[in-house]
C-alpha cells in the first residue's frame, strides 16, 4: 500500500504563549515544537498498515524549515520518506490554503490512503483533511478510531467515532482520505536504530513558488486579533499551605456544599 500521513509541527504542550506584535498570532521565536498529537497517532497507524500490507509510508508537511525536526522524528519512528513544502514566511495561513497546497503536491502521485489528524492542537480548525479530500475528489471519513484496509479489493473500512460513546463502521473505495482521532492506537518510540536510519532518509524540500497554486482564489478568512480570553472565574480559589487548603476543602465540602 502507498500511505501518506500529513504531519503538522506545532508549539509544544507546555508553551507559555505570548501574543505577537501584530496581535494576530503568537510569538514563535524561542519556542520548542512537537508533532500535533493526532498526527503522531496517524503516523503510527500508517506504520501499522505498512507492517500488515507492505508498501511505503510518506510524510507530507507544510511549514518552515524548523519543521524538519518533527519530520526527522517521524522518519525515526519508521516512515520511509518525506516531503516538506517550505513556507518560511508563513504565507499560507488558512485551512483552505493549506489544503490547496497539500492537494497540489498530492496530485503528483497516487496514494491508496491519505491520513490527516482530526484537528490540530494549535489553530484547531478541524478542516484541513476534509477540505483536502474534496479538493482531490476523494471520499473521506472523519474522526477515525480503527482502520481495516483491503488493498486487493481497493476498499477500506474505517471505524468512525460518534458522539456519546457510539461508533460506526463505514466502507470507502480507495484511494481515500481519513482523519485520525487521538487514541486510535499506542504510539511507538523511535528506536536507536530508527534514529540512525532517519538521518539518511530523504526529506524532499519543495518551494511554495514551485507549486502551481493560486492562493488568491481561495475564500479567505482573516484572523483580526488573538488574545487571552477574559473569563469570570467562578471557582472560589482556596489559599494557604497544602495542609490549610486541604483542611478548608474538606470543611467546605461537608458544611457549605454538603456533598460529603
Amino acid at each position: 500500500m502507498k500511505l501518506l500521513t500529513c504531519l503538522k509541527q506545532i508549539p509544544d504542550r507546555d508553551t507559555r504563549y505570548e501574543i505577537n506584535a501584530a496581535g494576530t498570532g503568537i510569538k514563535t521565536s524561542d519556542l520548542t515544537f512537537e508533532i500535533s498529537e493526532c498526527d503522531e497517532y496517524s503516523l503510527e497507524e500508517s506504520l501499522k498498515l505498512r507492517e500488515e500490507h507492505g508498501g511505503e509510508v510518506a510524510i507530507l508537511t507544510l511549514g518552515p524549515q524548523r519543521a524538519e525536526k518533527s519530520i526527522r522524528k517521524g522518519l525515526a519512528m519508521g516512515a520511509d520518506r518525506a516531503i516538506l513544502v517550505r513556507d518560511d514566511e508563513g504565507k499560507v495561513t488558512t485551512p483552505h490554503a493549506v489544503a490547496k497546497v497539500l492537494a497540489e503536491v498530492l496530485k503528483e502521485e497516487e496514494y491508496d490512503l491519505i491520513l490527516t489528524g482530526t484537528q490540530s492542537d494549535d489553530w484547531s480548525y478541524a478542516q484541513t483533511g476534509v477540505l483536502l479530500a474534496e479538493l482531490l475528489g476523494l471520499p473521506h471519513a472523519t474522526i477515525v478510531m480503527e482502520i481495516r484496509a483491503d488493498p486487493a479489493q481497493k476498499k477500506v473500512k474505517a471505524l468512525r467515532e460518534m458522539e456519546s460513546g457510539w461508533f460506526q463502521w463505514v466502507e470507502l473505495p480507495m484511494p481515500a482520505v481519513l482523519t485520525i482521532q487521538a487514541g486510535i492506537s499506542q504510539i511507538r518510540y523511535a528506536s536507536l536504530k530508527g534514529i540512525m536510519q532517519a538521518k539518511k532518509k530523504e526529506i524532499r524540500n519543495v518551494e511554495l513558488s514551485d507549486l502551481n497554486v493560486d492562493l488568491s482564489s481561495i475564500p479567505e478568512i482573516e484572523v483580526l486579533k488573538v488574545y487571552f480570553p477574559v473569563v469570570e472565574k467562578k471557582a472560589e480559589i482556596l489559599q494557604g499551605s497544602t495542609a490549610e487548603v486541604v483542611e478548608q476543602l474538606v470543611e467546605k465540602l461537608k458544611k457549605e456544599a454538603k456533598v460529603l
Partner: protein, 324 residues
C-alpha cells in the same frame, strides 16, 4: 430585499438535536440585530412533523427538503443538496452546529462551493456592519476574532453549549417544501454497523462521587494516589480523554463528548485543563473541585472550589485528611 441567515437543523431518532436549536437561537439574535430574515433548513425523509415544530419558532420560514437518499447522513448527498440550495439562495450566512456530523460535512461543503468556513465558534461580535466570529484555539488558552474575506454565504459552525436553547424565541414560520433532484449523486461511503462501546461496562451516570484524573497525572504508575483518594472518599474513578487514549484507564471511564455524561454530587478534577469536550460531560455536577497547577486553566471557570497547586502534593494530603 434583506439578507438571509440559514440554519441547518440536524436531527436523529425523530428529535431535533440540541446543538441545532442552539444555532437557531444564535441565528435569531443575529437576524434581529442585523435586520436579516432567518430560515431553518432541514434535510431528511418523512420529517414533516419536525418541520412543523420548527415552524413554531421565531423564523421567517422553514425549508424542508425530503428525499429517500437524505434519510441517513451521507457526505456526498448532503453536500450536493446543501450546495444546490446555498448556490441558488445565496444566504448571507449559513450556521450549523459543530457536531461530529458537521465536522464531517462542513469543510467538504466549503470546498465544493469555494466559500470560507470558520469552525467551532463560541460567539460573534459586530464590527461595523460585519459580523466577526470568536473561536478558541491553542488548547483553549487563546481566543481569536476571525473575519470572512470571502463571498457569501459564509459558513460557520458553532460550539456545543456556546448559546443556550433557553434563548429560543417562539413565533411562526411557514414550512416551504423544496424538491431537489439527487438521483445522480453517487454514494461512495457505505454505512455499516453502529454500536455503543460503553454498553454493559462501567456506568458512571449514577455515581454520587467521582474523582477524575487528567493528563496532569503524567504516567500510569502515578494513578495510585488517585485510587487511594477515590477509596478514601468511596468514589468512582473517571478520566479525561488523553488518559484513556494512553490506555492508563479503560475507555468506559472517559467523561466528555465522546465518553459518558455524569451528574454526581461531587466531581473532583485532578490535572484536567477543562476543554469543552470534557466539560460537556460533567458540567451538571452539583459541586466541582479542580486541582491544577495552572491558575488560568479553564476548569476553574466552572469549578465551585479551586486549588492552584501540584496534584502530587494536594491529592495525598487530601486522602490523609479524609482518613482522619
Amino acid at each position: 430585499m434583506s439578507e438571509k441567515i440559514y440554519v441547518l437543523i440536524d436531527h436523529g431518532e425523530g428529535e431535533i438535536r440540541t446543538p441545532s436549536l442552539e444555532s437557531l437561537a444564535l441565528g435569531q439574535r443575529m437576524a434581529e440585530e442585523a435586520g436579516f430574515s432567518l430560515h431553518a433548513l432541514i434535510l431528511g425523509n418523512e420529517i414533516g412533523p419536525l418541520a412543523e415544530r420548527l415552524g413554531k419558532q421565531k423564523v421567517d420560514s422553514v425549508l424542508l427538503v425530503e428525499d429517500q437518499k437524505l434519510a441517513n447522513y451521507d457526505p456526498d448527498v448532503y453536500c450536493r443538496a446543501l450546495s444546490e440550495i446555498l448556490t441558488e439562495d445565496q444566504p448571507y450566512l449559513f450556521l450549523m452546529g459543530h457536531i461530529y456530523q458537521n465536522i464531517d460535512l462542513a469543510p467538504k461543503l466549503a470546498a465544493a462551493i469555494n466559500r470560507g468556513l470558520v469552525t467551532d465558534c463560541i460567539g460573534y461580535r459586530k464590527e461595523g456592519d460585519d459580523f466577526v466570529f470568536v473561536r478558541q484555539m491553542f488548547r483553549n488558552k487563546l481566543n481569536a476574532d476571525v473575519q470572512f474575506r470571502s463571498e457569501h454565504p459564509w459558513i460557520v459552525t458553532l460550539q456545543t453549549g456556546a448559546t443556550s436553547v433557553d434563548d429560543l424565541k417562539e413565533g411562526s414560520g411557514q414550512v416551504v417544501e423544496r424538491s431537489l433532484d439527487l438521483s445522480a449523486v453517487e454514494l461512495r461511503r457505505k454505512q455499516l454497523e453502529a454500536f455503543e462501546a460503553t454498553q454493559g461496562k462501567v456506568d458512571l451516570s449514577q455515581a454520587e462521587l467521582i474523582v477524575a484524573v487528567g493528563r496532569g497525572i503524567k504516567k500510569a504508575e502515578n494513578l495510585k494516589i488517585i485510587e487511594e483518594l477515590a477509596e478514601a472518599l468511596g468514589a468512582e474513578i473517571a478520566a479525561s480523554r488523553p488518559v484513556v487514549d494512553s490506555e492508563w484507564l479503560t475507555r468506559d471511564r472517559q467523561i466528555g463528548s465522546s465518553g459518558q455524561t455524569v451528574s454526581p454530587r461531587l466531581y473532583l478534577a485532578c490535572g484536567i485543563s477543562g476543554a469543552i469536550q470534557h466539560i460537556v460531560g460533567m458540567k451538571n455536577a452539583q459541586c466541582i473541585v479542580a486541582i491544577n497547577t495552572d491558575p488560568n486553566a479553564p476548569i476553574f471557570n466552572i469549578a465551585t472550589y479551586g486549588i492552584v497547586g501540584d496534584l502530587f502534593e494536594i491529592v495525598p494530603a487530601l486522602t490523609k485528611k479524609l482518613k482522619e
